[in-house]
Symmetry: C2
Subunit: 338 residues, 2 copies
Amino acid sequence: MSQDTETLSLDDARALLRAAFLRSGVPEDRAASVAAALVAAEAEGQVGHGFSRLEDYAAQVRSGKIIADAPLRIDQPAPSSLVIDAGYGFAFPALDLAVERGSHVALTQGTASVGITRSHHCGALSVSVDRFAQQGLVALMVANSPVAIAPWGARTPVYGTNPIAFAAPRGDGPPLVIDLSLSVVARGKVLNAKKAGTEIPAGWALDAEGHPTTNAEAALEGSMQPIGGPKGTALALMVEILSTVMTGANFSKDAGSFFTADGSRPGVGQHLTLYRPPQDLDTFTARLEQLLSLIESLEGTRVPGSRRLEALDKARKDGIAVPKRYLDVAHELATATV
Amino acid sequence: MSQDTETLSLDDARALLRAAFLRSGVPEDRAASVAAALVAAEAEGQVGHGFSRLEDYAAQVRSGKIIADAPLRIDQPAPSSLVIDAGYGFAFPALDLAVERGSHVALTQGTASVGITRSHHCGALSVSVDRFAQQGLVALMVANSPVAIAPWGARTPVYGTNPIAFAAPRGDGPPLVIDLSLSVVARGKVLNAKKAGTEIPAGWALDAEGHPTTNAEAALEGSMQPIGGPKGTALALMVEILSTVMTGANFSKDAGSFFTADGSRPGVGQHLTLYRPPQDLDTFTARLEQLLSLIESLEGTRVPGSRRLEALDKARKDGIAVPKRYLDVAHELATATV
């Protein structure tokens, strides 16, 4: 590994992040929630949603952009519908509440929707949908995020990368998990190209005039290309409506950055739909296994999420390799005097 | 117009198709249901789901591939969950039942899911989701269909074009409607190119070996390219699970053709999720209007479904232009002695 890293067990990683958040002014239960979410993402190999977020999160807690002790409010406007107000705090405690209360509603009512409003970065959606599937539920999750994608044909970004995630329980072993954003690639890849001074491939991004570009800097001033052209932007609008209009959260265009300590709050939304399989769970998982075995039997392909599961297995056995620069931040925050 | 057409009012078109199905052995209420669905699609400009289907549908009724008088069964395994068994009949009567019963459940419970199993071609999904939105519901619909798309990297198609549709109520005027399939283009476009003896653009399809092709014939023996590469096939798997594993319907790979009178039955599935906006409807539509006005204010883009609405307006005012060859079939069937 070219980067200077140190390997930590998942328990040690959680304990370290928890201490860092605690010392940064995050209440104990919230600190544990955020630490668990970041380590879960890191364990899946989603390093962009792991330790790398600590410094920015902590700075936003200090500046008050994240209200770390915001009381969570939950409403049940109808028997199968919940709305959680994250109060401009972290998304993860709201997601924990969604797992607890939403699962109960879905298991008893058959179907449930859970909207989360005035929220923040929700990390790897795969981590969240996986938790519902482990309780025997099929889960569909969408989220909006600060602007990245323009409506098809326009120059001005209106949508975030607006991810869609899905999970379904399997009989033996971990759930099937799908998690994708609606941009061709993550904006982070363009940032990396800019840092490295390299061009980006055609098809990734548009410049501020709405023209395709291979210049990373121009791309960052423009917008990310959606998957499938107008089909991708139609899906982005669907995600935007579920995440914001349905929940009361900020539109992507009004959402402040997930990274900077200053500026307006993100106030984004997340939306979950939870389904208890109508037949019994064994019938459901047996049929799902038929479908997935068929895919596994084909040459050249894999079931989505296979790499994620390998990363998870490895992380549980061997721990995770965390860049030293992130660990330095964590140790510094964890040992700071409040 | 180069094609020889005749213009019919929507009422006349429905009456003609209804008579044609009736004389083909379809019970009266079912004939009206199928006729209404085909004309609604035709009125939206979705001619591939309109009059062009009559001949094949009628032949399938005669051969028994479509069981036109199959009793519809509806189960409610949980308060917010319905499963409708279409009994290898037409999809449209099952969709009518979903509109009636599913809407009631969603309006009272807040959220509802409706699975339809042992079904057939469901036509333009836009037509169905629009009906729920007109009752103040947000609707998400998915469906599977005979195989067209291969899992990413594989040669063998496993998924249908597996469409996703979405609708949301607007304060004034018709709902916002999104409807897209997960292939880059419809298979019909490749069929047209084959008939015309022209090449297809790169990026549409793969040959039987899984390689990109511009040869229409090779494409028809291979598979359709998904939008967004592996992201599109991940979405196709999600749609496949909701439409088949959740409902008990046939996998796309086991679904017989929607077109031929012989061969195995399609037995495909449809899945609907219906949401009553958690806040009151006026608040929901006011916020949606904010978002859509923003999109409408941008140069170079339009709100998805704009062309559909123009077609609908025109069809209501001026009627629909139907190719004479389809009308000949309709008149012949409608006047046949049973």
